[in-house]
Structure formats: structure tokens, C-alpha cells
């Protein structure tokens, strides 16, 4: 199905949430608003499953749509999906209904606006993953900032305004240069189409600047050390739904960007700068893990763990090997599921106790065993326990990295030890030990809705962990194509 789709499936996936968001505006009754939002999100997920049903494992861009938009500037509304973006799209559409359902009771003010923002956020993120025109991509890319800015700034914690502004300015500044480079590329290549730009010959100096400009935008988004300091603030201050979306999907836009744009558009520079990226990724793995270890707030622990985990994803990309890249694609999804679940769990306990400090907890297993059991499973997935999803991604990334440079793999594997350390410390502080804080004695365990939010994620941990080939079958061919593109241009030196 390399050709144009019989009907615009991808557009449907992108714009359905916006449609739902507009629909939400017509209702006043909160129950109706929630029902519309949830139905839309579920419908979008269901529609996105057709991608799987009609998928062809040939590594090509599928379900493409192409409509001329600004013809005299060479801007087209061009969409497509391949094995690299497929599961990020599905992850986005899966997390959509989950965050809507999670926010069912705990968003009290301006519920309508909240749901509206969640839904248009979906459209923005899906557009990023599906756009094949650089201008269209950039518009979606920048658009994702707006709903998130309001979600953090309006529904966030105490320091929400600072965090929201920082998030907005930091990422905005990062992508300013990318816009310049996109314009130069379009001017040089006569088109903004990703497919046409791939063969573009450009002088190495221009390629270097272009590579670095894209890399900066994506590195900030991932975030790669040392561009990560916006993340703990944004994560900690964001409302739970926002944190889940941030960690689950927004960060992946960075690693996706590297794979989709930096690698095929600037193959020489990619090979030149891969060691630098790998180095930053390794620093992030160790640094993020160590800093996570000393956090006093469970949510910032999870935030810093994201830096370490995304370091693995980036290392896989920088390895420029099949295992590394396929692992990175899969690990992006895994991180979205596991860290998304961790943020959901932290949100559930926060809604009950209104604190995230470890010192306020301890011994929860006695009081809320269902929450605690889920917490352990989610932590183990995040630790990368073999048999669960995190392991498959992490290990294949390491296998790929080992082939690029065994020492990189050794350093990154140290991060695996640290992951166990900081995450089990969280378990120790939260659910083990005596139940000595009086307020915890009256905590209520998870209700059916909350369990329903978590169960699909946990089932996926096991499914991906035990039968990752279902996913890899579809990822591998696209990675092969990508690697061929990169390797067909030998490094300049």
C-alpha cells in the first residue's frame, strides 16, 4: 500500500480529535462533555487500529495523502506513516482515552476547556508523527506547545506559571533555528517535501548547520543532557494528564524527529555527529539516574527517570545499527507506556493525599494493596525486567550499541543497575515499611475506573515483553530502509 490511500485515513486520525474538541464546546453538562471527549478519543483509537489491519510490512510510507497547499512555494499537505511512526501514532491514540478517563473526576474547574485542550493536543501530536512536509510538520510541532502551555499553566501545581513559561520558551527557542533551516532547505530544494528533500545535495557546511539546528530542537524535546532542565519543572507542575502526555508522547517527538529528519536528510552529518549524540545520551543515562536517586518527590523522580530512559532511546538512534534503531523505536513506545503508567499512579495517590513527598508515605501496601501491586508491576516494567516490555527495547538498543562501540554499551548498562536502585528506592519509600503516617490510614484503594485506566497498559507490558515480534515485524523494514539511506552516503571524513 505504498500508493495514496483509498480514503484519507490519516487525516481522519489527525482531525477526529479536533472535531470532538469542537463538539465539546457545544455542551454545558459535565457528564456530556466527558462522554463526548471519551467517545472521540476511543473512536480515534479504533480508527487508528485500521492502520494495523491494512498494514504492509515493506518498510514503505503507507496511507499517503497528498494535497497541494501553497503550490508556488512547494508546500503540500503530505501525510504518510511507516514502521517508525506507526506505533507512536497508536501510542498517542491509546493514551488519549486513558488520560480522558483518568481526568474524569479530578478536574474540577473548567472541565470543558480542559477536555478541549486534551483533544486538540492529540491532533497536534498525531500531525507531528504523520506529516511528511516540513512546513506542515513544523506547524504541528509548534502547535503542540499551545495546549500543553495552557494545561500546565492553568491546571498545574504551585509553580505552574513559571513551569509553563519555561516549557514554552525553551522549546520555542530550540525550534526557531529549525524553522530557519527548513526555509533554507525549501529554498534550496524547491520543495518542502520530506521525500524529495532526501536526495538533496548540499554543501557539508550547510548540512552541518542544518543538522545541528534540527538536532537542537529535537535534543531539547527529548530532552538530551544538558538541555533537560525544563522537563522536571514541567513534569512536576503539570496536571497528571499533562504529565502523561508529556512523557508518553511529546518527548518521543524528539527522538522521532531525529529518526525521521536528521538521519535521512543529513546522513553525512549524522555519521559525523553520532558519537557526540551517543556521548550526551550516555551522560543523560547516568546523570538522570543519579539525580533521580536523590529526589524527595516521587513525581520528580519519575521525571528524572525519563531523562535516563530517553538517553537509551537516543543511544539506540546514535548507534546507527538495526538493533539500535528498532530498539529505539520500540523503547520510545515502552517508555510512553511505562512512564505514562507511573505518572498515572502518582496522580492517583496525589489526588488522595495531595502530596508527592516520599516522607509522607510508607507502608501503603497494607492500606491500598491494589494500587501497590500495580505500582510494583509498573516499576518492574520501568526497571527493564526481562519478560516485560522495557527489557526488549533496552536490550536490543544495547546490542546495537555494542556493535557500534562496546564501551558505550558498558557505560549504558551501568544505567541499568542505577535504574533498579532509584526505582526500588521509590518502592521502598512508598509501599514498604511501616504505615506510620496517620493520614495514610484512611486512603481508599483504586476504584474500577482507575483500574480500567491501568489494565490496558499493564497488558501491553506483558504482550510487548513476551511477543515483541508483533511490533518488530513492522518496525524492522522501515529501519532497514532508513539505514540504507544513511549508509548510502559515506561519512565525509
Amino acid at each position: 500500500m505504498n500508493n495514496l490511500a483509498p480514503f484519507p485515513l490519516l487525516s481522519l486520525i489527525i482531525w477526529l480529535p479536533t472535531l470532538g474538541a469542537l463538539l465539546v464546546l457545544f455542551f454545558q453538562d459535565e457528564e456530556r462533555i466527558k462522554t463526548v471527549a471519551l467517545t472521540t478519543a476511543l473512536a480515534d483509537f479504533a480508527v487508528s487500529l485500521f492502520l494495523l489491519a491494512w498494514w504492509v510490512n515493506d518498510g514503505s510510507m503507507q496511507f499517503q495523502e497528498m494535497v497541494a497547499w501553497v503550490p508556488n512555494l512547494g508546500i503540500n499537505y503530505h501525510l504518510g506513516v511507516d514502521g517508525i511512526s506507526l506505533f507512536l501514532v497508536l501510542l498517542t491514540t491509546l493514551l488519549g482515552p486513558i488520560v480522558v478517563l483518568f481526568s474524569w473526576r479530578n478536574v474540577k474547574d473548567h472541565l470543558k476547556t480542559f477536555m478541549f485542550l486534551l483533544l486538540v493536543q492529540q491532533t497536534g501530536m498525531l500531525g507531528v508523527f504523520l506529516a511528511l512536509d516540513l512546513v506542515v510538520f513544523f506547524i504541528f510541532w509548534e502547535f503542540t506547545l499551545i495546549p500543553m502551555y495552557f494545561l500546565i499553566g492553568r491546571w498545574g501545581g504551585k509553580n505552574r506559571v513559571y513551569a509553563a513559561v519555561k516549557f514554552f520558551l525553551y522549546t520555542m527557542a530550540g525550534s526557531a533555528l529549525m524553522l530557519v533551516v527548513i526555509l533554507i532547505l525549501g529554498w534550496q530544494g524547491g520543495s518542502f517535501d520530506w521525500m524529495q528533500l532526501q536526495g538533496l545535495k548540499m554543501p557539508l557546511s550547510l548540512q552541518t548547520w542544518a543538522f545541528l539546528a534540527f538536532a537542537l530542537a529535537f535534543a531539547i524535546k527529548i530532552p538530551l543532557f544538558p538541555f533537560h532542565t525544563w522537563l522536571p519543572d514541567a513534569h512536576v507542575q503539570a496536571p497528571t494528564a499533562g504529565s502523561v502526555i508529556l512523557a508518553g508522547v511529546l518527548l518521543k517527538m524528539g527522538s522521532y524527529g531525529f529518526m525521521r529528519f536528521n538521519l535521512p536528510l543529513f546522513p553525512e552529518s549524522t555519521q559525523l555527529y553520532a558519537p557526540l549524540l551517543a556521548f550526551l545520551a550516555m551522560v543523560g543515562i547516568i546523570y538522570g539516574a543519579l539525580v533521580a536517586l536523590v529526589q524527595k518527590d516521587v513525581k520528580s523522580l519519575v521525571a528524572y527517570s525519563s531523562i535516563a530512559h530517553l538517553g537509551f532511546v537516543m543511544l539506540g538512534v546514535a548507534s546507527l545499527t538495526k538493533q539500535g534503531l528498532s530498539g529505539a523505536v520500540l523503547q520510545g513506545v515502552n517508555h510512553g507506556l511505562a512512564t505514562g503508567a507511573l505518572f498515572l499512579m502518582v496522580g492517583m495517590i496525589y489526588d488522595r493525599r495531595h502530596t508527592r513527598l516520599f516522607s509522607e508515605y510508607g507502608g501503603l501496601w497494607k492500606q491500598i494493596p491494589v494500587w501497590s501491586a500495580f505500582f510494583i508491576i509498573v516499576v518492574l516494567a520501568s526497571v527493564g525486567l526481562p519478560g516485560l516490555n522495557g527489557f526488549v527495547g533496552e536490550f536490543t538498543i544495547l546490542v546495537g550499541t555494542f556493535q557500534a562501540n562496546p564501551w558505550w554499551a558498558a557505560v549504558a548498562t551501568l544505567g541499568v543497575i542505577l535504574a533498579a536502585w532509584y526505582l526500588l528506592t521509590a518502592v521502598r519509600k512508598m509501599i514498604f515499611g511501616p504505615l506510620d503516617e496517620e493520614k495514610n490510614g484512611s486512603l481508599l484503594d483504586l476504584n474500577a475506573r482507575e483500574i480500567a485506566v491501568l489494565v490496558p497498559l499493564v497488558l501491553l507490558f506483558f504482550f510487548i515483553g513476551l511477543y515483541p515480534n508483533f511490533f518488530l515485524d513492522k518496525i524492522n523494514p522501515a529501519v532497514d530502509v532508513l539505514l540504507q539511506t544513511v549508509q548510502s552516503s559515506p561519512p565525509p571524513f
Partner: protein
């Protein structure tokens, strides 16, 4: 017949699912029944597998049972599959056999909690879910046909161990111990992960597989060219083994692991999981044989660990801790065995140890119940009269451990020591001295706990445990008495070593083992017997008649006592040298790195932008002349640029 091998995994999986889903409605008896029956069914399957294997010709006794495809990326191709061969079947029999008896015992033991209050149904169910999960993971480990699947089991049993050590999660000491066990094991797993990557890089890529057989074949093909890498790979595997099997330098987690309920100590931290390292080395023997340096390191780590742990065991007063150090020490013997190339002897000792150490731990559990949780042997005494069955069971276990002639431990330890002697008399010397210490501390425990007069209120009122706990132990007693007959030395004839013959196809590729003379074998045999009896006699002399010379002997060593009681301060050294510096580094990163430097730059850039904006704004003064001037300067600059650079 063998193609149905996978059902051995289905039973414990079903058991844990049933108890998880329906446990709260079933009641304790049914929970225990389901869990135990699941393991028993697995045991019967293992027996069936052994029979099926025996029916095949010796050189065909390695059957791969494919399960499903797992991870395929390019040339990285790993699938789930079971390897049914003599070695994996022996392990499966030990795991499910001893495992079943421990489930049976635990059904009664776990009715009360650590404070002798009735244990809640939820916790009781949770215990058996974990136990079934452990069996499932342990079988995954020993039946794996490739390194990555072995790694699944390897970390899976680690999780079971973590959850079970921390079973009394509300006790801070138990919670800390579980966490410590998992993290220390992860340090070892670092080695395992890197070794697997390295093996894939060197051999697996071409073979398109990580299966043992393919890797070994490729490694042998590479021969001397891969010698250097092979040393590295095997040292990494050894690191993993020292974690799982509690050897120097990673043994520190096992003594703390005694925080878990006693059946857990028996099953996981004595009989099965901790032997995984020995199994893994035996399984990887073609690789280790290509790395003589590593083999020597394995042997010396084993010998030194055996000695170190035994020396600590002689001064411990907590019954379970004595047994824990004893386990470390006995695992050291197994490492010594595989390190000198005596793989069969190592596995033999693994098997006999599983019987007698499980027996010792479970009887210790009976004593613990009778003593209301008290484990200090200084506060026991006279239990022989109060709990005669337990006394006999413990005595037989201790005698087997001490290497009392003709009992299980005697034969297997002797087999290791004999082959160690052939390799290096010095290794044998360390081993035989450790045997003396072993005999002493085993019977110190017997005499202090069971003989003499009761030394506390609890000991005074101790009483025998119910048959639910005492009866299953008789099976372990049988094993402790007679399991040694499976591995009789060549001294008694060519084909008397049943286990040796059974395992021969696995270790067939070993170069013809060095054989000493029968005279030497007999001499060493007698020396071992003498040493065991001597150790027992010294313990008797010191604790029963309390003869003066025995006390004097103890005074001689009293200077060592503080060092031993502090366990050579290894925990403290690790804290001071590794854990605390890392924490300080982490604090530094957080406070200085994130908090000051990076944030400083980021906010600095922001501040500069704002300031610059202020300056630029000031230029918009509204004075037309100023604008005209700057316009003029700009035009001049542009013109200059064109003139100088463009043309």
C-alpha cells in the same frame, strides 16, 4: 513425549493465576493445595522428562522444544525454547522436588505471621503466588535453550527473591534487605548483559542465534583466535554468577536475605536460586574451558568464599545466619568444583546441598516457631527433649553438611576436594580446612540449640511442631542420608557414579579428565572423614563437657572474633567506598549541576535576552535624527560588506 515439555511451565503458571484470581474466595487450605499440586505436577513432568530422555541413546539426549518467536531484528534472532538434556532435567528435578516439599511445609508454617498472629488470607495467598512464580521463573532459567531466555529466568527469580525477602514488607529491615538483594544482583546482571552482547557480537551474529549449542559451536570454531575475548566474556559471566550465588565480591545480600520467611530461605536462598550461578557456569562450560584464567579465578573465588563464609559462620549466634553463611560457604565449594573442571562434582554437590540445606532451614523454621521467633542459639538449649523429631532431622542435616562419613554431603564434597587436589593441592588445603570449620559450626549449632539445659523462657516452653511441618521433612532426611549414593567415586567401580553417567553426555566434550591413583583417592577420602570427625569432636569438647583445652583453643582465636563478628566489615566498606560516594555525587549533580550550573546558563540566557531587549528598546527614542543616523550607518556597513567580500 518430550515435545510436551512445556507443560512443566504451565502448572506453576496456572497455580499462580488461580490463586491470584480466585484466592480470596478459596480459603487457605485450597490456596496451599493448588500451589503445592502445581509444583508436584511439574515434578511428575520432570520425572517424565527424565524417563523420556533416558529412553534415548546417550548422544541424542539434548532435545530442543521450540515455544514461540521472541525478538527478531536483523541478525539478532532469539526465540523462546526449552532445552531438555540431562543437566537441565537434574536441575528441574531438584527445583520441583525440593520445591514441592517446601510448599508442603509452608502450607502449615505460613498460617501465622512473623509475630505469631494469624496470617491474613490475602498475605497467605500472596505468599503462594510468589512461590509459584518463583518455580515458574526457576524452571524458565534451567530449561532455557539460549542465553537471553536464561536471563529472563535469572532476573525473574531475582524478582521472586526480592518480593519474598521483603514479604514482611512493614518491617524496615525486611524491606531494606529485599532491595539490597535486587540491586546487588543487578550489579552481577550487568556482567550477564554485557557477556550476552559480546557473545552475540562474536558468535551469535553469524549463527543468527543465541542458543547455547550454536554459540558453543561457533566459539569452538573460533578457537584460539577468540581466547582473549573468551576470558573477558567468562569473567563477565562469573560476575553474574557471584551475584546470584552470593560469592565474593557480591555475597553481601544473602545474609540479609534471611529476613524472608524461613521456607523462602530454604527454597530460594539455599536449595535452588542461589545455585543458578553454578548451573550457569556448568551450562557454559565450553566457554569456560576456553578461558583457563577464568577457571582459575572461579576456583579461587570459590575456595576463598568457602573459607571466609565458614569462618564467619563459627561465631554467628543467629541460627538462620549460621545457615546463611554456611550456604555461601557451600556454594563456594561448588564454585571450587566447577572452577577445577569438576562440573559433575559441582552439580552433585548442588544436588546434595539442596536436600540437606533445605532440611536444615526448615528445621530451623520449626525451632523458630517453637521459640516464638527467637533464633539466637545462646537462648536455646535442651530442645532435644522438647522436640525430638526436629532434633533428629536437624542432626541428620547437620551431619550431612559436616561431611560425616557416608552421608550425602560427604560424597559430594569429597568428589570436589579430590579433583581440586589434582589441580592444585593448595586449593585442596583451603577446602579441607574449610571442611574442618564446617563440621565445627554445624555441630556447634546442634549442641548449642538442642543439647544442654534450656537457657531461656522460650526454650523452656518449646514444643514439637505439628505433623504438617515435621512430616514432609522426612523426605529431605532421606535425601540427606542417601543422595550421596548417586555419585559414588570411581574407587567403588567403573559405573557406580549414576549421576556422573547421566551427566556424561553434557560434559562429554571435556578433555579426558585427569585421574589420580586409587591410593590417592583413598587417602584423601580418609583425610576428609578424619577432618569431619575432628571438627565434630572439637565442637563436642567445647560445648558439651566444656573441656579446658577446647576453651583454650577458642581463646587462641579470640582475637579474630571481633573481625569475624563484624563479617570482615564488607558491608561497611561497600557503603563507604561505593554507595555513599555515589549518593554524594548524585546530590552534587542535582544541587550543583541541575540546580546551579545548567539552570544558571539557561536562566542567564533568558536574563540576557530580557536585558538586551531593554537596551534595544531604549534605542527607540522617538528622535528622528537618531533613526536617520543609524540608517546611515547601516547603509554604509552593507555597502562596505559588498565592496570588501562580495565583489
Amino acid at each position: 513425549m518430550l515435545s510436551f515439555a512445556w507443560i512443566i511451565l504451565v502448572f506453576p503458571a496456572l497455580g499462580l493465576l488461580i490463586n491470584w484470581i480466585f484466592g480470596k474466595r478459596m480459603g487457605k487450605s485450597y490456596i496451599a493445595l493448588v500451589a503445592s499440586a502445581a509444583v508436584f505436577a511439574s515434578f511428575l513432568t520432570a520425572v517424565g522428562l527424565a524417563a523420556g530422555l533416558a529412553a534415548l541413546p546417550a548422544d541424542a539426549r539434548a532435545v530442543t522444544v521450540p515455544l514461540w518467536s521472541w525478538i527478531h531484528i536483523g541478525d539478532f534472532q532469539v526465540d523462546f525454547a526449552l532445552l531438555i538434556d540431562p543437566l537441565s532435567v537434574v536441575m528441574a528435578l531438584v527445583v520441583t522436588g525440593v520445591g514441592f516439599i517446601i510448599h508442603w511445609y509452608a502450607a502449615t508454617y505460613m498460617l501465622v505471621d512473623d509475630h505469631h498472629r494469624e496470617l491474613s488470607l490475602r498475605m497467605y495467598g500472596r505468599f503462594f503466588i510468589y512461590l509459584n512464580f518463583f518455580i515458574l521463573m526457576m524452571l524458565t532459567l534451567v530449561l532455557a535453550n539460549n542465553y537471553l531466555q536464561l536471563y529472563v529466568g535469572w532476573e525473574g527469580v531475582g524478582v521472586a527473591s526480592y518480593l519474598l525477602i521483603s514479604f514482611w514488607f512493614y518491617k524496615p529491615s525486611a524491606a531494606d534487605a529485599g532491595k539490597k538483594a535486587f540491586i546487588v544482583n543487578r550489579v552481577g546482571d550487568f556482567g550477564m548483559a554485557l557477556a550476552i552482547m559480546w557473545l552475540f557480537f562474536l558468535f551469535g551474529k553469524e549463527a543468527g542465534s543465541l542458543a547455547f549449542a550454536d554459540i558453543f559451536h561457533a566459539a569452538e570454531g573460533a578457537g584460539a583466535a577468540a581466547a582473549g575475548a573468551m576470558t573477558g566474556i567468562t569473567l563477565l559471566l562469573l560476575l553474574a554468577a557471584t551475584g546470584k550465588s552470593a560469592q565474593i565480591p557480591l555475597f553481601v545480600w544473602l545474609p540479609d536475605a534471611m529476613e524472608g520467611p524461613t521456607p523462602v530461605s530454604a527454597l530460594i536462598h539455599a536449595a535452588t536460586m542461589v545455585t543458578a550461578g553454578v548451573y550457569m557456569i556448568a551450562r557454559s562450560h565450553p566457554l569456560f574451558e576456553m578461558a583457563p584464567t577464568t577457571m582459575a579465578v572461579v576456583a579461587w573465588i570459590g575456595a576463598l568464599t568457602a573459607l571466609m563464609a565458614a569462618s564467619i559462620a563459627i561465631v554467628q549466634t543467629d541460627l538462620k545466619r549460621i545457615l546463611a553463611y554456611s550456604t555461601i560457604s557451600q556454594l563456594g565449594y561448588m564454585f571450587l568444583g566447577v572452577g577445577v573442571g569438576a562440573f559433575t562434582a559441582g552439580i552433585f554437590h548442588l544436588m546434595t546441598h539442596a536436600f540437606f540445606k533445605a532440611l536444615l532451614f526448615l528445621t530451623a523454621g520449626s525451632v523458630m516457631h517453637a521459640m516464638h521467633g527467637e533464633l539466637n542459639i545462646d537462648l536455646m538449649g535442651g530442645l532435644k527433649q522438647k522436640m525430638p523429631k526436629t532434633y533428629w532431622q536437624f542432626l541428620i542435616g547437620a551431619a550431612a553438611l559436616a561431611g560425616f562419613p557416608l552421608l550425602a554431603g560427604f560424597w559430594s564434597k569429597d568428589a570436589i576436594l579430590y579433583e581440586a587436589f589434582l589441580k592444585s593441592p593448595l586449593l585442596w588445603g583451603v577446602g579441607i580446612f574449610t571442611a574442618l570449620l564446617t563440621a565445627f559450626y554445624s555441630f556447634r549449632a546442634v549442641f548449642r540449640a538442642f543439647h544442654g539445659d534450656p537457657r531461656s523462657e522460650h526454650a523452656e516452653h518449646a514444643h514439637e511442631q505439628s505433623p504438617g511441618m515435621t512430616f514432609p521433612l522426612w523426605f529431605l532426611v532421606i535425601g540427606s542420608l542417601f543422595a550421596g549414593l548417586l555419585g559414588l567415586p570411581a574407587l567403588f567401580g567403573e559405573h557406580v557414579n549414576v549421576l556422573g553417567n547421566w551427566l556424561a553426555p553434557v560434559f562429554a566434550d571435556l578433555e579426558g579428565e585427569v585421574h589420580g591413583s586409587e591410593g590417592l583417592e583413598l587417602t584423601l577420602f580418609l583425610v576428609s572423614s578424619g577432618v569431619a570427625l575432628l571438627g565434630i569432636f572439637i565442637a563436642y569438647a567445647r560445648y558439651i563437657p566444656e573441656w579446658g583445652w577446647a576453651k583454650a583453643l577458642q581463646r587462641l582465636f579470640s582475637r579474630l572474633q571481633p573481625v569475624l563478628e563484624n563479617k570482615y566489615c564488607v558491608d561497611e566498606i561497600y557503603m563507604a567506598a561505593i554507595v555513599n560516594p555515589l549518593r554524594r555525587l548524585a546530590e552534587g549533580f542535582y544541587q550543583l549541576g541541575d540546580g546551579c550550573i545548567i539552570e544558571g546558563i539557561v536562566n542567564g540566557v533568558g536574563a540576557v535576552t530580557v536585558r538586551a531587549g531593554g537596551y534595544v528598546a531604549r534605542m527607540q527614542t522617538g528622535v528622528l535624527g537618531m533613526y536617520a543616523l543609524s540608517f546611515f550607518v547601516g547603509v554604509v556597513l552593507v555597502l562596505l560588506w559588498f565592496l570588501l567580500f562580495v565583489t
